[in-house]
Amino acid sequence: MKHARIVFEDTTQEAVERDGLLLLADGRLVAPDAVTAWLPPLAPTARPRTILALGLNYADHAKELEFKAPEEPLVFIKGESTLTGHQQFTRRPADVQFMHYECELTVVIGRTARHVKRDDAYDFVGGYTVANDYAIRDYLENWYRPNLRVKNRDTCTPLGPWRVDAADVPNPMALALQTTVNGKVTQSGNTKDMIFDVPFLIEYFSSFMTLQPGDLILTGTPDGVVDCLPGDVIVTEIEGVGALTNTIQGQTSA
């Protein structure tokens, strides 16, 4: 099943996908373009959810950025304030030279995970969604790199449109992944090329930190990132998970 979280008739509500329409909790079917706003497709959590994100997790992207492939995961943490939904706007500061998307398969943890072994890891996945983990390279510094000024900006992590139940994604490690800018394909890859795959990451993180339902792991992006300008429409899509649309909006000051 595909779950969404939307604003419709001035109310935030959960919905599921049914034959291309949105089935609301009250039984009504709504067309996707009738939705007021798409929110990140996540149930609220009592405490701030932990958002782990991988850098350099595809062999080709590591090469493109002139780094050798990491021997252990390069991971950073985002705050929830950077998240936004499907069909929202992401702000590009006026003075920057290089802002790029990153299409990423995102794991939504389904059960409390502590000291999980690789072979059991999929039991702890609740579902999957698509993230676009924007980066503004002008702000990169070599201190806790990638630093939060690059990776934790408001509106810079669109997520959605759907949270797809894990049972409906039989092999998350063989999904085609693609990004288009204004309809033109600029990035294509496959999750089979991840350096550290989903079971590895769950084992690794849960070896020292307990993951809770609703926590996220953004698994990194492959080769093919390009600069995005105000007005550009970016669609990050993962086979069987969803196509996440986002529009770049100019911003007068950083």
């Binding site: 701030p48 950073f76 943490i77 510094e141 070599n142 806790y144 990638p146 939060l148 900006r153 930190m209």
Partner: protein, 219 residues
């Protein structure tokens, strides 16, 4: 666990002048290649939060942990692009924190595996209201391990004072009501190990105490 925090907790690296001075000779060398410009932040996620008086587990593979005692600002409202002149008005109050790390010498990559272990953030028991706390530049704290004074910090020695830090951080990300931003952990951070009791005290603040428990040993 009842804690006086609910939002995302951010820490800041190198916000004491003497820490920056100590590292200055390395700043233009690889891997850093330049002194930092924006505040260097990290997140202490919810799995790290420990209440006052809670035992904090230390994995058997970790011989010693570094004690990062600090005072943190808790936001009273959402703050975005704060002006220096009124940034401080967005703070609801202040808390003691014990930001534990596995000691690490490099600050090139984000410190998740060093800082985000379960329980690795002691959280003070009580918010000190901003109106009552006064100017954070007058804050000071002391760290005792097993009753012995190990560190004294004066928050007059910050690189970015509370207002400047709020202005510079909120220039690139929103701090939401309930989010927490630490003022920085000072130089001379003491080390501690399983069995040690860590007490952090500051004038006007309810003290924060935690005991480290080596995992695999009887608590």
């Amino acid at each position: 666990m009842n804690l006086p925090i609910s939002g995302t907790v951010y820490g800041v690296l190198l916000n004491f002048q003497s820490e920056v001075q100590a590292l200055t000779p390395q700043m233009n060398q690889p891997p850093y290649k330049a002194a930092p410009k924006a505040p260097i932040l990290y997140v202490k996620p919810a799995n790290t939060w420990s209440a006052h008086d809670a035992a904090i587990p230390v994995p058997a593979r970790v011989p010693q942990v570094e004690v990062g005692a600090t005072i943190a600002m808790v936001m009273g409202r959402d703050v975005q692009a704060a002006r220096l002149s009124d940034a401080i008005n967005s703070v609801a109050g202040y808390l003691l924190m014990n930001d534990l790390s596995i000691p690490h010498a490099s600050f090139f990559r984000p410190p998740v595996k060093f800082k985000c272990l379960d329980g690795f953030l002691g959280v003070g028991p009580q918010l000190r209201a901003a109106a009552e706390a006064g100017d954070p530049a007058a804050f000071s704290l002391e760290v005792r391990i097993n009753g012995v004074l190990k560190q004294s910090l004066q928050f007059a020695d910050l690189v970015r004072n509370a207002s400047q830090l709020l202005a510079d951080v909120s220039a690139f990300m929103t701090l939401r009501a309930g989010d927490v931003l630490m003022l920085g952990c000072g130089p001379g951070r003491p080390l501690a190990q399983g069995g040690d009791r860590i007490d952090i005290s500051a004038p006007g603040f309810a003290p924060l105490s935690n005991t480290l428990v080596a995992e695999g040993s009887a608590a």
